[in-house]
Symmetry: C2
Subunit: 331 residues, 2 copies
């Protein structure tokens, strides 16, 4: 029988469509993996092609060679070198396209995968995410910063070379505003961060947890909106990604490596999006919001119902997906 | 220079990415259309295959043959024959999968397109949408009804035979709740429905209107979230689709035919989603919400940024897209 589930943090309902549900192994990617070379001479992210991108704004080097390189996006959605200005005409509201849109080139190698990199290389990527996040967040006209990674064509990228992106916005996304309001209402009622509460409840129920270390815990949420939709939380309450401490960076490195590794191995390298859902830039001390990482393997397709309601139909059962991932050996 | 625009009704911002913008004609579908036969013997929606679907709950006949046929979805996301019940366990909230999920088979012909059908056949489809909407909305446990159409694989359907769907929900979608709240705040401040206001402003500015008749007006919204994202409004204020009057059904038939026809012809049959965004079932008399139809040609791809913010990056300029569609001749 189908079932509706509500996410206690977002208030969003999801339909678990048992009539068309699939077993976890049915979500494995079907296509054969195509051969990709370690270097491509026309790839703007490969070493020796640095002239094909704008000049780097940050890089981590070893033996005189970059390991991680951050550049402005050549086809930036928003640009930093215009003044931020609202322009109203009748009741039409617009603003200049001020903002940041940077690319994090994760590794010099064209054909590797994030979870297969050595631990120290993954740590470098986390350091770059954090450094660029903090830099962008410190700009007085920036309200919100979103680091994300699109992996594979189905996840919206046509570039093979492993990379992530960070966008800094001068406006507040309405969807995030709604979630903040949901969270503050929970805090007002219960005196606790709703995400801290969710972590407690997931540990108590212990049906959907896939990974845990000293600082991080990862699970398929009770009301996951798509198959293998995954949430990874810092256990210490913190509202923004900028607050991450050094020891936590090490633990995040391991968490990301193992979780993405299990997804890579168990589902045969599915396309996925990874997003850091941080609180807004000025939220360091707030007690009602908690940053986390959301990973969405692209195993279904949003259609008219999703567009028309913001609700999702999930054909994967969270408890089964979690069990499947727990049993994938990756270390 | 890129630009940010805010939708006055939803409060949502969109990025118009001028650096990577395309000309309207660049959005034309590239693939060759594949040949599809007028009848397929294994298609559950073709005539003589009625035994392959659950029994119809409504149909419009002519000369003893059905023209439009409505059946329960064989792989329903929600089902009507369970009692609606909330089940709470600790703070995990779920509900039985009560609801409606019906399919509207739009025509006996396997290989036609909605805008190419004779006017009276399109009118029959509108009648079926309306009848089923009103029926589902009258159930005491239903809170929200969403009629929608997925056209093409990129829009989430694998069935070729022209069809639409209607889902009736026993819960309220959080995203819709947010929009209702936005709309009521505008009404409180301005004493006018924000959508009526938007129609007025679009008429005054007259840059994005594509179609208008006595009862309906259609335009690319100022803050369209994707290329050729289209909104079609009844001009008379009405909060729910159920309130549509007979004369308005005729005008809606023509509006749908011409708008989908222009999209079909101008963009070479792109995949698209069409959704009727109605107010909730009990909203007949409310003055602050206005139902409309949203059409989203699937010309871009939502990726990590969209998932992480609910905001969109649009590579089509609304004024140019509207001009392009206005100039497509279809009658």
């Amino acid at each position: 029988m189908p079932e509706l589930r509500q996410n206690i943090a977002t208030g969003e309902w999801v339909i678990l469509a048992t009539e068309r549900a699939k077993r976890p192994e049915d979500f494995k990617k079907k296509e054969e993996k195509k051969e990709v070379p370690p270097y491509k001479e026309n790839c703007p992210f490969c070493p020796n092609n640095e002239h094909l991108t704008p000049k780097e704004i940050f890089q981590i080097e070893k033996d005189g060679k970059w390991q991680v390189r951050v550049v402005p996006n050549k086809f930036a959605a928003l640009i930093p070198d215009v003044p931020y200005q609202r322009i109203y005409h009748n009741t039409f509201r617009k603003a200049t396209g001020f903002g940041f849109h940077n690319v994090i080139i994760e590794t010099p190698s064209h054909n590797t995968y994030l979870p297969l990199l050595p631990v120290k290389d993954i740590k470098n990527i986390i350091e770059a995410y954090h450094k660029i996040f903090v830099d962008i967040a410190s700009h007085p006209d920036i309200e919100f910063v979103i680091p994300f990674k699109n992996h594979g064509e189905g996840a919206g990228t046509s570039l093979e070379h492993p990379h992530s992106q960070i966008i800094g916005l001068p406006v507040f996304p309405e969807q995030v505003r709604g979630r903040m309001e949901e969270a503050i209402r929970f805090y007002d009622r219960e005196g606790q961060c709703v995400f801290c509460h969710m972590i407690e409840m997931e540990k108590k129920e212990n049906l959907r947890i896939v990974y845990e270390n000293e600082s991080f815990i990862g699970f398929i949420p009770f009301a996951a909106f798509s198959p293998f939709h995954f949430w990874l939380f810092p256990k210490r309450h913190q509202a923004t990604f900028g607050e991450l401490k050094d020891k936590e960076k090490d633990d995040l490195t391991d968490a990301i490596r193992i979780v993405l590794g299990k997804i890579y191995k168990g589902l045969k390298d599915p396309d996925y999006n990874l997003v850091i859902r941080s609180g807004p830039v000025d939220a360091q001390r707030i007690k009602y919001f908690h940053w986390y990482i959301s990973i969405v393997p692209r195993l279904g397709k949003a259609a008219g119902f999703e567009l028309g309601s913001g609700m999702y139909i999930n054909t994967g059962l969270p408890e089964e997906s979690a069990k499947f991932l727990r049993e994938v050996e990756f270390s």
